[in-house]
Symmetry: C2
Subunit: 376 residues, 2 copies
C-alpha cells in the first residue's frame, strides 16, 4: 500500500467498501512502459478503470487509448484525448457506433470478421483497420476464450479485402491472455504474426503495425516478472522475427497500468463457523463478487489481503461477500490465513485492485450500492 | 412470450437490450402459490427483481417480503409494505443495519451463527429469530455453497441461546438450492428440521415456523414440474414429519415468482466464423453476462431463445455478449441452433428473464449501460 493511500484511509476513514486509487502509481507505470518499450505506442485499455481522473492523467502523460464502446469514446474525448490517439479496439461494434466514432475523428478500428469489415467500410470509409488473430493463451491467469480473433488464413484474406473496400490494411493484433506469466508466449504469437506479414507482402500489402494487446501483469499473490523482463521478451520476439525492419508497435495495457494503483478496503460483517468443530472460519465482508471483487470468479485472481489485526496469530479462513447469493464466495479453495481475533467491524484490504473492480460492480444486486472509488 | 409483451415490443420498439416484465404473470404466480400452498405465508425474495412496480404489485396482493439489505427494507416500505410482513433474511448483516430495520418496525431476522445472534439481541431486542440450517442441494440447477446455514447441532444450541438473550426462537429455515428439480429434496430437508423441532421441544423450546426458502423453478429449456407438483411434495414432506400438528409455513419464492414474467430482447451485433471452414458461427449480441445475462455463468441457466427469423433453416451457434471480456460468452457448450440468415440488426429474445437479470447488471463495464427494464 502506498503512503498516500495509507494516509487517505487513516485520515478520511471513508465508508466501506471503497477503492482508493493512487494516481502517482499509474503515472509511474506509464513512464516505466515508455522507458522499457520506447518503440511502442501505449493505448491504455480504458475498460480496466474508466475513472475520468485516470483517463485525464494519461491524456496529460501523452498516452493513447483503446476503447470498447461509444461511452468510452466520449469519456476519452471529454478528458482531452485527441481522436488520432484513440483505437476502437472492440471487434464487435454496432454500425451506428462505428459511424459515431468516425464522426468524432476516430480512424483506427479493430475487426476479426467479414461482416465487421463491411460495417467499417460503410461507416468509417478510408479508415485504418487491424485484424485480430487467434493465439494460444497458455500461461495466462485469466486466459481468453476463442471469442476474439480469427485464424491467420482468414486474417490474410480479410486484410486483402480491406484494401479492396477502400480501407487501409494497417496491421495485426493479438492478445496472449490477461495476467500472462509465461514470457515465451509473445514469441509463439509473433511467429504467426511474422508469417502473416510475409504472405501479405507477397500479395502486395505492406502492413504497418503490430498491436501486441495486453497481458502484462499486476502484482497479485503469485510472483510475476517485472516490466523490464516483459519488455525484453517482447522485443526479443519482435527482433527475432523482423530483424531491424521493425513495424510500428502498439500495446494495450490495462491491468498492468492501473492494477497496482488501487486498494479495496472492506469491513468484516461476520465471522462464524458452520459447526462446533468446524476447522475453518467463514469471514464475511461488505465487499464481494458483486461489488468490486468480480475477478475472484473461480478464484482466478488472488489478491494480496491484509487486515487491521495483522501480526496476531492466524488460521485459515473462507472469505465471502455480503449478498444472499451463494456464488458470492471470494476465496474457498485458495488458502488465506487471517488473524484469529478478526471480528465484525475490523478492516480488510485487498491490494492491487485498481483494475477490473469498480466498473464490474453490479447496479444494485441485493440492494447493495456499487462500490465507491476515490482517485487521489 | 405473453401477448402483452409481444404487443409492447411490436408497438414501442424499445432500444435494445431491454427486459420487459409482464406484471400480470407475477400476479398469477402469486395467486397460484396461495392456491396451492394455502398454509404458507409468501415472502417474496426481493433480490430476484427489485423493480418498485413488482414490489408494489405484491404489496397490493397481500404478499410479505424477504429482504437482503437496508435499501431493500426501504424499497418495501416505500411501496407500502407493513414492517410486520418483512423478514430480514440475510444471515450476514451489519449491526447498524439491524438497528435500522428494527427502528422501522421489523421484528423478524435470520441468523446462522453466534456473532449474528448477539448482534440481533443488541440491535433488535425481543425480535423473532429463525436459524438457517445447512441441507444438501442435490438436483438444483443453481446449487448453493455452504455459505449460508449451520449444522443442526449448532442450530439447536443457538436457538437455546436466543431465548437466553431475550429473543424469540421463532423457527428454522433452509434452502434446497435454486431451480431445484428433484422434488424429494424437501423431504430430505424436512427430516433434519423435524428432528430439530423435537430436540428443542425436549429443551423446552416450541418453535413456531418453518421457512422453506425458495427453490421453486421458472421455465427454462429443461422441463420442470408445475407449481401443484411442488406444493404436493412440500406438503407431503411436512405432513409426513409433523402429522396434523403443523407449524407455520413461510416460503421465499424469487425465481418462481418473477422469472417467467420477463423477456429480454437483444440485437445481433455481429455474426462471424473464426476460419473459412469453421462449422459453428459466433453470434454476438448487445446483451451478455455483464448486462442482463449474468446467470448464464458456467451456462447454469439455459434460457429459451427465439429470433426474428424463426422458421428459417437453423445451424448450431455460439452466443456471446458485446464486451471485450472473453468471459462474456453466453452459451458455448450448450447447443443452441439459430437461423442461418441471422445477421446484424436482427432481434433475439431470451425468455423467462424476469429474475436475476436487471439488478445483476454491471454499472458500466466496457462503458455499456445497465440494461433497461419496462414493467407493463
Amino acid at each position: 500500500m502506498t503512503k498516500r493511500i495509507q494516509q487517505f484511509l487513516n485520515e478520511q476513514k471513508p465508508a466501506t467498501p471503497c477503492v482508493v486509487i493512487d494516481l502517482d502509481v499509474i503515472k509511474n507505470n506509464y513512464g516505466s512502459m515508455r522507458t522499457h518499450l520506447p518503440l511502442a505506442q501505449v493505448f491504455y485499455a480504458v475498460k480496466a478503470n474508466p475513472a475520468p481522473e485516470v483517463v485525464n492523467l494519461l491524456v496529460n502523460e501523452g498516452s493513447s487509448f483503446d476503447v470498447a464502446s461509444v461511452p468510452e469514446v466520449d469519456l476519452c474525448l471529454s478528458q482531452g484525448a485527441n481522436p488520432d490517439n484513440i483505437s476502437f479496439g472492440n471487434t464487435i461494434k454496432k454500425e451506428p457506433h462505428i459511424a459515431y466514432a468516425y464522426s468524432k475523428g476516430i480512424r483506427l478500428f479493430a475487426f476479426d470478421s467479414e461482416e465487421e469489415l463491411l460495417k467499417i467500410s460503410r461507416a468509417a470509409p478510408g479508415s485504418k483497420v487491424y485484424c485480430r488473430i487467434l493465439v494460444e493463451n497458455e500461461g495466462a491467469q485469466w486466459p481468453l476464450s476463442r471469442k476474439f480473433g480469427c485464424e491467420v488464413e482468414m486474417a490474410e484474406d480479410l486484410l486483402c479485402q480491406a484494401r479492396e473496400l477502400g480501407l487501409v490494411p494497417y496491421g495485426v493484433s493479438f492478445h496472449v491472455g490477461s495476467q500472462q506469466t509465461d514470457l515465451s508466449q509473445w514469441d509463439v504469437a509473433m511467429t504467426r504474426v511474422a508469417s502473416l506479414f510475409m504472405t501479405l507482402q507477397e500479395r502486395g500489402i505492406e502492413l504497418t503495425a503490430i498491436n501486441l494487446g495486453g497481458g502484462f501483469p499486476a502484482h497479485y499473490i503469485e510472483h510475476v516478472e517485472e516490466m523490464p523482463a516483459y519488455a525484453d521478451a517482447v522485443m526479443r520476439a519482435i527482433v527475432g522475427h523482423f530483424g531491424n525492419r521493425l513495424p510500428k508497435l502498439m500495446i494495450e495495457p490495462g491491468r498492468s497500468m492501473v492494477g497496482d494503483s488501487g486498494v479495496l478496503q472492506a469491513e468484516v460483517v461476520l465471522v462464524s463457523r458452520k459447526s462446533n468443530d468446524d476447522c475453518k472460519r467463514w469471514v464475511y465482508l461488505d465487499a464481494g463478487k458483486f461489488n468490486g471483487l468480480a475477478e475472484t470468479l473461480d478464484e482466478a485472481i488472488t489478491y494480496r489481503v491484509t487486515t487491521s489485526r495483522d501480526g496476531e496469530e492466524t488460521e485459515p479462513v473462507i472469505l465471502a461477500g455480503p449478498t444472499c447469493d451463494s456464488v458470492d464466495v471470494i476465496y474457498e479453495k485458495k488458502e488465506y490465513s487471517l488473524p484469529l481475533g478478526l471480528k465484525a467491524g475490523d478492516l480488510v484490504q485487498f491490494h492491487s485492485t485498481g483494475a477490473y473492480t469498480t466498473s464490474y460492480a453490479s447496479v444494485n444486486f441485493n440492494g447493495f450500492e456499487p462500490i465507491k472509488a476515490y482517485c487521489i
